[in-house]
Subunit: 411 residues, 2 copies
């Protein structure tokens, strides 16, 4: 790891500065910095410097990235998609290690250095997908920090045996316990949530629950979740993903839920889907609720859409919330940087001395342009190392994975 | 104009074929075509061949494309945006000719060969913006076909003198008469629409009305519009742009309006904004209503977002309508190709012998991948001429506009 002096970059606040990186961390930021002899130099040419981007919610284990096109003929219901995917992965020999590695590297190329990935745990695949993503986590250690969420995609109570698998997943190093629609999927919300929170409590792990349930049904489940956060003292350790219900209740009910979320420091994850109600960003900010961003699945059997670009996701959050002013676009940028790092608990984050030197240089005059126009990435630095330039990975990262990189890769 | 044989391309239906282009038109499409000696050849390498893309609704005169970033500090109301823009353009010397040319060439680079552009007509700027866009239309004749819509952005009845300017605009070669919210802006819908339809009738020109009015208010205006289409026999010659109201009325009211739209062959334009209700694509198709796509403004004082890429807009229509299956994505592709050409009246369109040879080769296995992943454009052909390759304009098009290209360009 070489020390590096990055000259003449524009910071998000508009100041022009140099950045001295030493032993993988930011040592100093300021104008006119010198560097000891022998330190490498990189000319910033006045480009905009951003902290490494953060993916707050994706599914690395599901993607077909780097594979032939998957022709989608799936039915419209949530259960159609869940069942189709489980059957397809079993039949196709889809390898979570190889695909997650390809997608994580594509994220890195676009400037994302921290990823929270949900990973399916079910009674058919067991821990196979988790083991695959963990192989990628190890292969990319020091380059992309990957958090895994043990996620009961096919349901928890409704599929006996799943709880024991989640228990095992957490013991094997999954970072977070995932959950899913306690009413709509598990059909017994109180018991489902008791089981989930009990597991998290046993392992001392945080929780991240997918809550797709709409309107008052979702609001009911959300209240049940918050009751348990409060009872178990899990303040600041729970995320509710999607929370479409917050876009589908009246103003008074929304206000009450936001107040509880803020008091318990429960963060919300949004992908800002154009076709669903979403938690309103402006109201969340006003109430002091942390809202952060993620892509959800990228080019998988659920959806043909998506790209591993967190500036594109920030743009979508801005469009979904009709935020057009430069200052408002700063809010959505926060969703894919500082707010996401805080909600997921990624340490040593930011553009400040002492933080890990995860940096992105983009061709833009400021944050609003970077987000609204998905500005090209000129240089990506991870942990002090230059890893991608002008949209291409550098050095060994640019090579295809060795055939032996995953024992499960189909022949 | 050289004749050209395009070898080994994949058609949208999956067939592999060659395309022979002669005198700017498609002469033959089929497998194993030969070509007379001296005809140039282009290897398609099995890439996907699409017809030239169609932009059904943009505002070439408003863009700040190819300029320093515009810092948006505009208030949230429609009138805030209208007034801010009028004042800013007057103060900044914004030149519609130079900016529209830059944006139209960016469209061409991404495979769009036909554009319908609304152009502001108001009592402060008069016909200045229209004259600018008409200069671009002439400069790019044979490369990008530009239709102009004389658009009373600041209102018609509410700004006396506007009707006379629209009359003059149509006499000077504007192709279509534009309109705007007869209730919300003009405050007197019957008189406003009578004036508008009277003007169109006098000049024998089609109409394209911006209708932002929500819910039942917009539905009321829409009925008034349809009454006049019927009375004046303007079947097939009227477009309603946006029509947010169709996403905000109940199923029965929607059904009735769609039946009238279909009977009168009035087409709908959607930009599929993620933050507004929109006409539902599935229901429109089922009712036989033509729905087509456009970007609206791109990087202007209204919005910092947008790019001149019709595949990206098709993707947004797919996301907004939650269309994920490959066959459904074919519907949104239709919105930015065949349906748009039909609704706008662009002649000689399509992938068929006799049509103008406007063609795009993209790196994708099929239409669904091209749309969902905004596939890179490998080659763009306009009127039989190769104009862009791998995202770059070719030959003289790649050069910046000559300083004398627009007399109004600010120093």
């Amino acid at each position: 790891m070489t020390d590096l002096l990055l000259n003449n970059v524009r910071l998000p606040d508009g100041e022009v500065a140099d950045v001295l990186i030493s032993r993988g961390r930011i040592e100093r930021i300021g104008p006119g910095l010198g560097a000891p002899a022998g330190v490498a130099r990189e000319a910033g040419d006045g480009a905009l410097l951003l902290p490494g981007l953060v993916e707050g919610h994706t599914h690395l284990d599901k993607t077909t990235w780097d594979s032939p096109w998957y022709v989608n003929q799936v039915g419209p219901a949530l259960t159609d998609r869940i069942n189709n995917e489980r059957a397809w992965r079993a039949a196709s020999g889809h390898d979570a290690a190889a695909h997650s590695r390809a997608l994580a590297l594509a994220f890195l190329r676009e400037g994302t250095t921290r990823i929270r990935s949900h990973v399916d745990i079910d009674t058919e695949a067991g821990l196979r997908h988790l083991e695959g993503v963990h192989r990628t986590r190890e292969a990319l250690a020091g380059l992309v920090e990957i958090q895994t969420v043990a996620f009961p995609q096919s349901g928890l109570l409704v599929r006996p045996g799943t709880a024991a698998l989640l228990d095992q997943a957490l013991a094997q190093g999954a970072d977070v316990l995932g959950g899913l629609d306690p009413c709509a999927i598990d059909r017994d919300p109180a018991q489902s949530l008791d089981l989930l929170f009990g597991l998290a409590d046993k392992h001392g792990k945080p929780i991240d629950i997918h809550l797709h349930e709409p309107g008052e049904l979702g609001a009911f489940s959300l209240d049940l979740i918050l009751d348990r956060v409060q009872a178990l003292g899990m303040r600041g350790r729970v995320v509710v993903s999607h929370a479409f219900c917050l876009g589908g209740v009246d103003a008074k009910r929304l206000d009450g839920l936001l107040q509880r979320l803020a008091a318990l420091d429960v963060a919300l994850l949004t992908t800002a889907p154009p076709s669903r109600p979403v938690p309103p960003l402006r109201a969340c900010r006003e109430a002091g609720v942390t809202l952060f961003g993620g892509n959800d699945g990228i080019r998988d059997t659920w959806t043909p859409y998506g790209s591993p670009d967190m500036l594109a996701r920030a743009m979508m959050i801005g469009l979904r919330n009709d935020l057009r002013r430069d200052d408002e676009i700063g809010w959505v940028f926060d969703c894919v940087t500082t707010a996401a790092a805080r909600a997921c608990g990624f340490a040593d984050y930011g553009l400040a001395p002492g933080a890990r030197a995860d940096l992105v240089l983009v061709a833009a005059s400021g944050v609003a342009e970077a987000v609204a126009q998905r500005a090209p990435r000129r240089l990506v630095i991870s942990g002090g190392t230059r890893v991608a330039r002008e949209g291409r990975l550098l050095g060994k990262l640019a090579e295809p994975a060795a055939p032996g990189a995953s024992a499960e890769r189909p022949a």
